[in-house]
Symmetry: C2
Subunit: 208 residues, 2 copies
Amino acid sequence: MRDLAELLELGDEEHPPSERKLQILTVACRLFATKGFDGASMRDIAEECGISKATLYHHFPDKNAILRLVSMGTTKSIYLHIAAHDNPALPPMDRLKVFMVETARFFEKFRWAWLASAAMFWNDPQVRRRKQRLEWRDKYEAVLRDILRAAVENGDMREDLDIALAGRLVSSATNWLTRWYSPGGPLTAVQIVEQFHDMIVGGFQKPR
Amino acid sequence: MRDLAELLELGDEEHPPSERKLQILTVACRLFATKGFDGASMRDIAEECGISKATLYHHFPDKNAILRLVSMGTTKSIYLHIAAHDNPALPPMDRLKVFMVETARFFEKFRWAWLASAAMFWNDPQVRRRKQRLEWRDKYEAVLRDILRAAVENGDMREDLDIALAGRLVSSATNWLTRWYSPGGPLTAVQIVEQFHDMIVGGFQKPR
């Protein structure tokens, strides 16, 4: 749950958030992800936490406040995570692998928060906050396009490819993973995207 | 709206479904897709159709009945559409292109129905119906794996690739498209997947 505190930038080392608050956020993410945002009520969250509704309302005024915190935190943190791992000195195709692998690693670590926040991406009624969230997402996608541009300039990537669409293909592989992947299968999310990277870079076709 | 009747196998040439029923289904799909299933009420559907709630309830007992009809119809029809266009006599990589292009064409034609039904894929409480729907989806995916297997046997595709994961990559490209694509952009959905096919088959890497 410390991880979640870091993800959502709650408190700091001197003033950590309460365990109760982190428990509520953890439980709420799992319920939003499994039952849907509309399907999970404040009552469900309180019951799962083993607390009264009054205690829950003491921490959060409503479901929206919980989901807003989670979705903004996730979108910002995935960018910061990628930016911290991207190394422009590496060959571009290796940078692409780091980008894909670290996205999968982030997803594995914060799976419930990610799945919960994916549900509301476009639904936040407050325009300023939605705009802010889109800015973080744009920064994340800009890293990807920057990598692909470097690959073309480097002569590693076919220059007939549309950079924006190539980025969409990479994002499709990692984004759709979050819909079908469930832990406990033969491959981890990281192992899966390593293979996706190999397929996307090398292509299906046998070299002639 | 005739297309929708065909999609959902409503009536036949001699006994076509009523225009009213088709109007309700069309409006409901658009509302489910844009406002979410939970966000769209029977009242909303009736108002958009310009009919009374009594008239709406005469055609459908509840929202679930509408969505069930749409989601089963979409899942079955995409398989039938693909099966009708797949030609095992073609070279496998061309079959793969047909598979991807016809999936995109189907999506463009039945965009609202597809988006509406994507929302409830896992949520149908009735086990028998969910199982039936999964069977149609499995048949659709089996065509894709059959194509990829033929490509390996033919010597067109690298045999070190995992067929199931390669299929996931192809599905990711077409499935994620349904999340970000909106009509009216510079490229149609079909043009986009044609480029995806080129990228997936040839790879990003410049041939050396």
